[in-house]
Symmetry: C2
Subunit: 371 residues, 2 copies
Amino acid sequence: MSTIRKERIQSASQTRRGVGERARKRLSAFAGALLKEWKRLGLPVMDERVVVAVSGGADSVALVLALDELMKDGRLGVEVTVAHLDHGLRGEAGREDARWVEALADSLKFEVAVGHVDVKERAVRMGDNLEQAARRARYEFLAAAAGCGARVVVTGHTMDDQAETVLLRLLRGSGAEGLSGMEAVRVLDATSEILLARPLLGWARRAETEKYCRERDVEFRVDLMNEDESFARVRVRRQLLPLMETFNPRVVESLSRAAELLREDATVLKLAAVELLQRASEEEQAVRTEREASVAGSLSVDVLKGAPVAVRRRALRLWIAEGRGDLRRLELVHLVGVEKLLAGERGGRRAELPGGSFVELRRGRLLFYIK
Amino acid sequence: MSTIRKERIQSASQTRRGVGERARKRLSAFAGALLKEWKRLGLPVMDERVVVAVSGGADSVALVLALDELMKDGRLGVEVTVAHLDHGLRGEAGREDARWVEALADSLKFEVAVGHVDVKERAVRMGDNLEQAARRARYEFLAAAAGCGARVVVTGHTMDDQAETVLLRLLRGSGAEGLSGMEAVRVLDATSEILLARPLLGWARRAETEKYCRERDVEFRVDLMNEDESFARVRVRRQLLPLMETFNPRVVESLSRAAELLREDATVLKLAAVELLQRASEEEQAVRTEREASVAGSLSVDVLKGAPVAVRRRALRLWIAEGRGDLRRLELVHLVGVEKLLAGERGGRRAELPGGSFVELRRGRLLFYIK
């Protein structure tokens, strides 16, 4: 379990001292750009607490320093909690980072929440891989840190992170949803009302965050895991993107732009899928009387057949997610199996899904059997 | 201008001799896969002439050899015209390739059409770049070769070509339409009813076409321009894809799959855009009386505003293409300019388009002024 210590609560209106303190004539370009995006995303500007996830790397440190600049300049009046999770993967180096982030928050007079978890142990216990376990632990920790009344958690993900995400998904063969990359604002998790916002994602390059830290005379931490080329993301950053930049020096911006366009597409197609699902479910009441307890839902084959494949596939995906509770281990091949039922191809009236549930074709409807 | 010589017309039902002649017990894997895709795409199987574009490289040679195998085996009964265009860019090497393709067609008893153009001269004359001029010359030549009654032109583009195309578009920052890559079947050009089909695109790897040529004891030609790394496509093939394969050995298949998914998405979104355009144009009759001759069309701002951005942007793109006759030099920035009119942002009621036409906001409608 993570342990959280809260330290030093101080309202944003109080005077600050410490790192980067000096009277500024005008806003830095970095803080100005952050403020613009902050407002565009509708993030809180007054009298609200905001949790900022800070690893100690240049991106999140630049984010917290720019928030400090904006608050000192009177442009923002929020209350900041700096949240740092030590994943327990790097021993003393991890503990040092935690102490460093605490000292930084201290110098900025921000509240700080530091958590320590053993991600390896959690991975084994939950049957997750290390990356999944780390993500889960992080989200739990951030939700807990926000628990004391914060509506928004912000992270320092940059446009470079976005480009890396898009390429990693492309390497895996994702469709529009995957290639959309990260969203600038979304809910932290399905059960939560806390928003996760990434106000650097749409515009900031990693080099700019480093430059801004230097301007503020803050030496950010360097995570050696960011240099370990056994991680695909690190190789994307250090090998693939540099090669792509020899084709187009602005490829990071291009990838980010492509992700944005595809995200807009995905939004429309998801809406169309939800509508299709409603239409295809309509007669369900009629068949419900005769249906077994193990049938989680049924859809009209005729309605589905009349829809374009891009919408139908998304509708089936949503339907299966609803029926099973999640999309774990659901691959394109399973969806294609269900689509084959619609086509009435030889070789069966049943499509198996991972985990024992299945979809069966009966009297013009697809029936979803849960295990 | 291209010159076309037609040689040797022989119906598909006559006996053949020459390259690859031997009694086959069963269909090769390559020809079998081609036949399956050929039928899936609804390409002609009997008594029709098909033009096959053959450069002399492994891909197009494998295609024509596999068609030969399918015809000898009685699986296809089409009539084949082998079409080869010498672009005039490689001097004697280009003429040698042309002679080689003629000899190949001869040995297979296929009709052959060879064209010679001076692409450089055409590029200068038409104000195109070399790539555009080459593409234009190729399409004209293929249309002419098909002129004698062929409904379909087939090319030897493989899944590797598709992956390269997707990456080149990604490097440029394309949205779904660009990332959809090449279509397996489309019309040859906007004014034509001739279909351009790529029956290797969805499944064949370049290595398979080379292997099949070797199995048939045919030494395909190697175009030295395919090794010239000053071409972005060559560098994608020789540097970028090999690096991506170190992440995922099946990345070519993944890219091809992503392109297919995005193409399905783009189909739905284009349809939605066409519908939106119709709705937004509906009241146009009412305003037509008062409109000037230079107004090519008008759209309701309210209708456009109610649509999601992904659909609206496509609708505006279609609208501008209709008004101007083409999309030349139209960039995303111009569309964004038109969208800003909708948002009613300060700074103008007019969005300029390249070439002197513009869109103006007036009394709740967007008016398209052509130059």
